[in-house]
């Protein structure tokens, strides 16, 4: 279990407060108005923005000051998830070893991950030679080999068309279930929430609310959420 204890995240004049727990193997959607602090919440969990007060605990270990690479999580950003000068295989391999000195066994794991996302034939290509959807798949393959307990998505599929985006979300859901990981995903679309999430973290007015069951919340939203959904 990941616990954000009475945390406050301050960025310039903006502050976000959060006090919440995230259960393992469940899928969380983070929703809320633009600029409310959804990405800030994810960045803080991942270690890109420091907590000004409070603690972040994982299985009773205080990881508040851990470097991003030392945390039990990995994140897909809105863009720049792949290095354009490295091949797809190298990009995925970096998820296992930052110095890319892969053992035979590790190379196999990279190739397996690539075949799991349907990119076996593209291992030697560079990201620029792939379509947007294929690039997303490659990034997912990297997340797969990283095998971290928590996978954070900051709208990485925002640039894809609706059909492709749904396909990606389904793939993410499958992979998360297979690897028994936890998903925390920022989204704007209520449909995404219904499609994939078990729980919803609603972020508004400088507060990230405690998670609530997705179906119940979406079927009967409170006033604030109703204003946002329109």
């Amino acid at each position: 279990m990941l616990r954000l204890e009475e945390a406050e995240i301050a960025q310039d004049t903006f502050t976000l407060r959060a006090d919440l727990s995230i259960e393992q193997t469940r899928k969380y959607a983070v929703i809320g108005p633009s600029g409310a602090g959804k990405s800030t919440l994810l960045s803080a969990l991942c270690g890109f923005i420091p907590l000004s007060t409070g603690r972040l605990l994982w299985q009773d270990t205080d990881i508040t000051t851990f470097a991003p690479g030392d945390r039990p999580m990995t994140m897909l950003f809105q863009d720049n998830n792949l290095f354009p000068h490295l091949s797809i295989q190298q990009n995925v391999g970096l998820g296992l070893r930052p110095d890319l000195r892969l053992s035979i066994d590790e190379k196999d794991r990279v190739l397996n991950a690539l075949s799991r996302v349907g990119l076996s034939a593209f291992a030697q290509r560079k990201p620029g030679a792939l379509s947007g959807g294929q690039q997303s798949r490659a990034a997912l393959a990297r997340v797969l080999v990283q095998a971290r307990p928590f996978v954070l998505l900051d709208e990485p599929f925002a640039a894809l068309g609706p059909a492709l985006r749904n396909e990606m979300l389904d793939l993410v859901a499958e992979l998360i279930t297979e690897t028994k990981a936890t998903l925390i995903m920022v989204t704007h679309a209520p449909d995404d929430v219904r499609r994939i999430a078990d729980e919803v973290i609603f972020v508004a007015n400088g507060v990230a609310a405690k998670p609530q069951p997705a179906k119940a919340l979406m079927d009967n939203p409170p006033q604030e959420l109703r204003d946002y959904l329109g």
């Binding site: 890109f48 923005i49 470097a67 991003p68 994140m75 998830n81 290095f83 930052p98 110095d99 990283q146």
Partner: protein, 518 residues
């Protein structure tokens, strides 16, 4: 330390910066310790100071003012060969000074093409030596630089403004008043200041075209005190004067000096509607034509004379060429070892202050640093034995400010765009350099290395101070041949030097872009 934008280790960068600063500062301290203030400055020294400032002012004003019509013409004309001409404007950056001087002598010298033409129509010959020769050479080098800076500014004007001007049928004068004058007011002072600072520490030009009591720069006076009188105290005192003038001006002008973009991006030419016909067109053609001739004729002279003198090139020239290649390669290695960690450190810090460290090398003139080190080394080892390593080191320091300006911006971009990704992957140390930074920055690193190589290859500065009769780099060897009036052999050496300078630049620049991914 968890919350930095990227896990570039800052220690190597800080140590590199500290090493550079320490080496320069110890040189300055040595100079300070050796200078004898009791003797004070003699009339010859004051005359050198006056001449240094006078020639720098004239060079800056002439270069900058001439650059206005040339840049204006280039900004509003599109013609075949325009791209090539703009590239040519970048050439003086990597052109050895001594080679250019030889070319200028061939065109404007006593037996040059100009005087031959004047004699045809019965006019008195003109002399290239003295103040006007020094200014001529400085304009040759800095007119292209100023033109590029102005052209760069012109290209920041949004296309809509010229479209608006065309819609309202503004006259060329009105366009000049409403669009170009505000632009020039912004960019001209900084451009002039930059040229002024560059000309203050000019040595090779003054050495070859100046000299004598009426045309000696402070930099040249240091050399003369050192080589002819072996008066270290006076050399040290003059070094302090030089530091005061050049360093003071550089520090004062730092805020207005524009960013030197030596790279590409100039080939974009806007469609313009104003001044396309009539007087304006004639003027533009005239300015572009004259500038092209002014830049090309000396180079043509170098090549034609060089080919003719090639057979008379003594073996010593080839030996010196080998020495120069080694010095240049060593300079590149030193530079990269300093500049890359420094750029990594600077890029992870907020904009500002730390860039200034690199400018220390610009403020302290090569001969000042050379004099300082000579004073330090002299009691321990024979300084002449260390001539080549010292030359390579000083050359690397001189290139450092430019190289940091080339490498830091893309380094910042890389940190900004890929910093978080590298952190989630836990990349740091060598992995980060090996797999992210070096591949992303390869084109700029290649360009910077090429530039350093060319600068080092053509440099005639510290080596003149330190060299014993049997060691010489190619520029020094060429200078000695010119001094002995062996002009054919010197022309052959000039051609070799030109080829080597352009060659080393081309090899590294091309190597950096070879198979590079966007």
């Amino acid at each position: 330390m968890a919350f930095r934008p990227v896990s570039i280790s800052t220690k190597p960068g800080i140590s590199a910066a500290v090493t550079v600063a320490a080496l320069i500062l110890t040189a300055l301290l040595a100079v300070l310790g050796r200078a004898e203030f009791t003797s004070g400055l003699g009339p010859a020294d004051w005359s050198a100071i006056r001449f240094t400032i006078l020639q720098a002012v004239i060079s800056a004003v002439v270069s900058t003012l001439l650059a206005v019509p040339v840049a204006r013409a280039l900004a509003r004309r599109r013609f075949r060969g325009r791209g090539l001409l703009v590239t040519l404007l970048g050439a003086p950056f990597i052109l050895p000074v001594i080679v250019a001087v030889l070319g200028l002598l061939a065109v404007f010298g006593r037996a040059g093409w100009l005087n031959a033409g004047l004699a045809q129509v019965g006019l008195e010959p003109v002399s290239i030596y003295g103040l006007h020769g020094v200014v001529l050479a400085h304009v040759f080098f800095n007119l292209p630089l100023a033109t590029r800076l102005l052209l760069q500014a012109w290209q920041t004007v949004p296309a809509e403004r010229f479209r608006l001007a065309a819609q309202m049928s503004l006259t060329p004068y009105a366009v000049f008043r409403s669009i170009e004058v505000p632009l020039l007011r912004q960019i001209l002072p900084g451009t002039a200041a930059l040229v002024f600072v560059i000309c203050l520490t000019s040595f090779a030009v003054a050495l070859t075209l100046g000299g004598g009591p009426r045309a000696t720069t402070v930099e040249l006076a240091i050399y003369q005190a050192f080589r002819f009188d072996f008066d270290l105290s006076r050399a040290a005192l003059l070094s302090l004067v030089q530091l005061g003038i050049a360093g003071g001006t550089a520090a004062a002008a730092l805020w207005i000096i524009p960013t030197i973009s030596i790279g590409g991006g100039f080939d974009r030419s806007l469609h313009r509607w104003d001044g396309q016909v009539g007087v304006q067109q004639v003027l533009d053609v005239l300015f572009i034509g004259l500038t092209t001739a002014f830049l090309l004729l000396p180079l043509v002279a170098v090549v034609t004379r060089g080919v003719a003198g090639f057979a008379k090139t003594p073996l010593a020239v080839w030996h010196a060429a080998g020495v120069s290649i080694i010095v240049a390669l060593f300079s590149i290695a030193v530079l990269l070892a300093i500049a890359l960690p420094m750029a990594g450190w600077i890029a992870t810090r907020p904009r500002g202050g730390s860039e200034a460290v690199g400018l220390l090398g610009l403020a302290a003139s090569p001969l000042t640093i050379g004099t300082g080190w000579f004073i330090l080394i002299n009691p321990v080892v024979d300084p002449f034995a260390l001539a080549l390593p010292v030359t390579a080191l000083v050359n690397a320091f001189m290139a450092l400010p430019f190289v940091l300006r080339i490498i830091v911006p893309p380094m910042r971009d890389t940190v900004q765009v890929y910093g978080r990704l590298t952190q989630t992957l836990g990349m740091g140390g060598w992995s980060l350099w090996r797999w992210v930074i070096l591949p992303r920055l390869r084109p700029q690193i290649g360009f910077a290395a090429g530039l350093t190589g060319a600068l080092s290859m053509g440099d005639l500065g510290v080596i003149a101070l330190f060299a014993s009769p049997d060691t010489a780099t190619l520029p020094l060897q060429m200078y000695r041949l010119m001094g002995a009036y062996r002009m054919d052999a010197a022309a052959g050496a000039a051609l070799i030097l030109l080829a080597l300078s352009l060659g080393i630049f081309w090899v590294f620049d091309k190597g950096g872009r070879w198979h590079a991914q966007a």
